[in-house]
């Protein structure tokens, strides 16, 4: 069965890629200047200990080193780390040694996922009809308005837009929508809007482009020649084939959106993956930094796989490979 073989191949590719990313990431942090747990990492108490009782301090460091496996050869460390990651054995972070990383992820991943998937969903729901409209009203004022709007919408980065939204709803017209925090539906609105604006624009433009192209195709003329009502010609023939093209951009769009989520979370102070990542990286919290990247890679590559499968469903000509 082609599907099973395809899935097996892709999953192997994902595992290899992720292992490499985790390994490279580990090595890069390992060679970075300074130790993994500086005084800043381990808190005030430890730096006092260093002054008052150096012997105990070193003993403590050694115990930490063996606990995290840092006294083993680098290659062994990397191998173990990769293996632990692949088996979802993430351990605890340096910052929060008492809470397993997996618990922190269990809180953060759904938040970031809601934001990213919400943004993509909104983009499709708004962008596809707008794109179809622009294509049907080609070269009219409506088309130019939509085109210009989406050009600007696409070029403004999500975090700049997020900032503008905060200014608007936080400073100029406060009280309409909450501009920070997480927990209520209202608090999800602005971040999703900020994230999806660029995507709406992109999907609109892309749909417009592929619709214009599809409407020119011979098979659309054939459908008209059969006397199929115009509505159905547009939806069943032109749009159906355009969607094949639109779906192919969802993959890269999702990758970009999930990364943008990291940034936008910072501006709306949302405790998602971005917040974990933004705490972990500057502080060289190795387990947390690598794990968050690991999870992000997994999300992106899983989504790409999903898009490829969807593509296969939408276009019967595509063979999985």
């Amino acid at each position: 069965m082609g599907l099973v073989k395809f899935l097996a191949k892709r999953i192997v590719a994902i595992v290899v890629t992720i292992s490499l990313v985790v390994g490279v990431g580990y090595v890069l942090i390992y060679i970075s200047p300074g130790t993994f747990y500086s005084a800043a990492n381990m808190g005030q108490g430890l730096s006092q200990l260093q002054v008052s009782d150096p012997a105990l301090y070193n003993q403590y460091l050694n115990s930490l080193n063996s606990r995290y496996g840092l006294n083993q050869p680098l290659i062994e460390q990397v191998g173990k780390y990769v293996w632990h990651s692949l088996t979802f054995n993430f351990g605890t972070s340096f910052e929060n040694p008492s809470i397993p990383i997996i618990h922190q992820l269990a809180q953060a991943v759904p938040i970031s996922s809601i934001l990213a998937f919400g943004a993509i969903a909104l983009a499709v729901v708004l962008g596809v009809p707008l794109g179809v409209l622009a294509a049907l009203k080609r070269n009219t004022w409506l088309d130019s308005a939509l085109t210009t709007l989406s050009m600007v919408g696409q070029a403004i980065p999500s975090f700049v837009l997020a900032v503008l939204l905060v200014l608007f709803f936080g400073v100029w017209f406060p009280g309409i929508l909450p501009v920070n925090g997480w927990g209520t539906v209202g608090e999800a609105v602005l971040p999703i809007v900020a994230l999806s604006a660029g995507n709406v624009a992109a999907v609109t433009r892309y749909t417009r482009g592929s619709m214009v192209e599809a409407l020119r195709q011979d098979y659309v003329r054939t459908a008209e020649a059969k006397g199929v009502p115009w509505r159905r010609v547009v939806l069943r023939h032109a749009l159906r084939n355009s969607l094949v093209a639109v779906v192919t951009v969802i993959g890269p769009t999702f990758a970009f959106t999930i990364i943008s989520t990291l940034w936008v979370e910072q501006i709306f102070t949302i405790p998602g993956l971005g917040t974990l990542l933004a705490q972990a990286f500057p502080n060289k919290d190795v387990p947390m930094a690598i794990t968050s990247i690991y999870v992000l890679c997994l999300l992106v590559m899983g989504m790409n796989l999903l898009v490829d499968l969807l593509y296969r469903v939408l276009d019967p000509r595509v063979k999985l490979q």
Binding site: R216, Q217, D218, Y219, R221, T222, A223, E224, A225, K226, G227, V228, P229, W230, R232, R236, H237, R240, N241, V244, L314, D315, P316, R317
Partner: protein
């Protein structure tokens, strides 16, 4: 002419381009009788496809019909609204196009595409459409209809695709079938099969066919009557027999000479000199003048109108009689000596 199925008169179609207006069809007139096969012959760009697409309202992009009438079963197609045209297309007028690959929707099953027209016209219900589709697949020579129903176009060969297109076009038993270069994209052997299939269906369903082709050989083999188009005008119109015996327009003669037959030697071939031009202004002289060996000053000053030459033979050439006389002479000569 009351018994004509389709009667087109003085049809004009223009296209707007960045650099001006292209006059694609300039006063074409022709008619199709019930049960007749009309061939429209011409080089690419001669306006043969555009004139037929104009009639059924399928001119794309920046094109627009700017004048003329097209009476079909008592109605002027050019004056109908889109909804009314949609009713006629597919039900009374079926169409097949040149490239069966690009003309079929790649994401839709063949069977669904054949059924779609019937369902749009309430020709029959779903069950009936399904059964009719199986019957059609059989009629157009696609075996194992039930399995093929669920196939996608890319799983078909070129000839099979064109057969499926034909099934779609004749599904609602139209009065008129427009075939726009139906065999051009196909292998030679398949070409013949498709033409034979068209003839069979025509006899079975008693429909008229308009066959657009650039291939004079195909046209003379299949059609009852032929019109030759050039620069969006009808240059000559006659029965096939008349065309073979007494072609009277220099362009027709040129087209006939450039037909490549088995056994023709290269030196026997004669290409029509020059290239077909796109008109950026309405014609004010004979559009063929620049390529014509019989050209006179009158040809460069005056548009020749389509006029009767003999019974059922019309030609748009100022010097048709002389051309006819000379061509007859060369034809006799040609039998003995090569025209070098």
């Amino acid at each position: 002419m009351a018994d004509e199925l389709l009667c087109v008169e003085d049809l004009h179609t223009e296209f707007w381009r960045g650099d001006g207006t292209v006059y694609a069809v300039n006063g074409a007139s022709f008619s199709v009788a019930p049960g007749e096969t009309l061939g429209i012959v011409g080089e690419s760009g001669s306006g043969k496809s555009v004139s037929v697409l104009s009639i059924v309202g399928l001119v794309r992009g920046n094109g627009q019909v700017t004048g003329g009438t097209a009476k079909f079963m008592g109605k002027d197609l050019l004056k109908l609204r889109r909804r009314q045209l949609e009713d006629i297309r597919g039900r009374d007028i079926g169409m097949i196009f040149q490239d069966p690959m690009s003309s079929l929707n790649p994401t839709m099953r063949i069977g669904d595409q054949i059924m779609e027209g019937m369902l749009s016209h309430q020709y029959t219900n779903r069950k009936g459409a399904f059964n009719r589709t199986l019957q059609l697949l059989d009629e157009v020579g696609i075996p194992e209809g039930r399995a093929r129903f669920r196939s996608y176009p890319h799983e078909f060969s070129g000839g099979m695709r064109q057969r499926a297109m034909i099934a779609m076009a004749v599904a609602c038993e139209p009065q008129l079938l427009i075939a726009d270069e139906p065999t051009t994209a196909l292998d030679v052997t398949v070409q013949t099969q498709i033409l034979v299939l068209l003839q069979e269906l025509q006899q079975k369903q008693r429909m008229s066919i308009v066959l657009i082709t650039h291939d004079f050989g195909v046209a003379t083999n299949v059609c009852d009557r032929i019109i030759v188009m050039y620069a969006g005008k009808v240059m000559e119109s006659a029965s096939v027999a008349e065309f073979i015996a007494r072609p009277a327009h220099p362009y027709t003669i040129g087209l006939k000479r450039s037909v490549i037959e088995v056994g023709t030697q290269a030196h026997q071939l004669k290409a029509v000199p020059g290239v077909a031009t796109t008109l950026m202004a309405p014609p004010h002289n004979c559009p063929f003048a620049d390529r014509c060996q019989f050209v006179t000053d009158r040809c460069r000053a005056e548009v020749p109108e389509l006029r009767p030459l003999s019974e059922g033979h019309y030609v748009a050439c100022h010097r048709a009689e002389e051309v006819l006389a000379e061509a007859g002479a060369t034809a006799v000569e040609g039998a003995t000596a090569d025209v070098r």
